[in-house]
Amino acid sequence: MRTIDMDTNTDSTMNINVLYFASLADEANCQQETVTIQQSTSLTELYEQLCQKHRFSRPQSELRVAVNDYFAKWTDPIRDGDSVVFITPVAGG
């Protein structure tokens, strides 16, 4: 588990947990990480930040997002302590 040291966790920041699956786990080279982000960072902005860090090959338009183990909308807010997962196209069955 690694932490992005963009900020320390003051009132203006929040810590969230990001889990990686499938090709994103390959590209991030980890299963999960704790990320400290500015309050009111959107899910879209979060993916952009992580994209820059890990050089993910998938554009956001190809992904879905889940918050706290439920699918979420990209416009849903992130709260301190949330667990966020970016979902690449699934391939079950």
Binding site: Y20, A22, Q31, A66, V85, T88, P89, G93
Partner: protein
């Protein structure tokens, strides 16, 4: 690709007994060992039902024209269970069925292994067929499970159901 970055998605966190309890209650679960069809079928026994339809998805020895040696499925278990419960609830609203159960397996599978099992019971036959197919399609579209195919030359590829 190191295995450890996928370790959390190749095995389940729950016990096998819990998996079958969740499947019986919510209609969906992930499992990381052989699916026990007879155990699932028993859960579906109902004297008011004249129809039982089931689907088994098995690992094929080919995909398009490429020979497949083995597959690994990876799952995001907690989201899969929440989404699976919603899918089965929706199926019971859409179709005149009594009960439905599906289990998706994750981990390393060989050719011939069952990756997914979907069973539906209903009083009459058409709703069981329609619901079984709809549940399967919806699982394939919405359940967070991924797969990598391994080929004879040891190369592998992430697959997608959307093309």
């Amino acid at each position: 690709m190191t295995d450890n970055v996928h370790g959390h998605s190749m095995t389940i966190k729950r016990s096998v007994d819990d998996v079958y309890k969740i499947a019986a209650r919510d209609g969906f679960a992930l499992l990381d060992i052989d699916i026990d069809e007879s155990r699932l079928k028993k859960t579906l026994d109902d004297d008011s039902c004249g129809a039982f339809v089931c689907f088994e998805g098995r690992v094929r020895n080919h995909n398009n024209d490429t020979s497949v040696e083995r597959l690994t499925y990876y799952g995001y278990e907690d989201l899969a269970l929440n989404q699976g419960r919603a899918i089965i609830e929706e199926a019971k609203k859409r179709f005149e069925i009594t009960h439905a159960i599906a289990i998706h397996r994750i981990g390393a599978l060989e050719v011939g292994d069952v990756a997914i099992w979907v069973g539906v019971v209903s009083a009459h036959r058409y709703p069981a067929f329609d619901a079984c197919r709809w549940i399967l399609d919806t699982i394939k579209a919405d359940i967070p499970v991924w797969k990598q195919e391994y080929y004879e030359d040891d190369s592998s590829k992430w697959l997608s159901n959307n093309g």
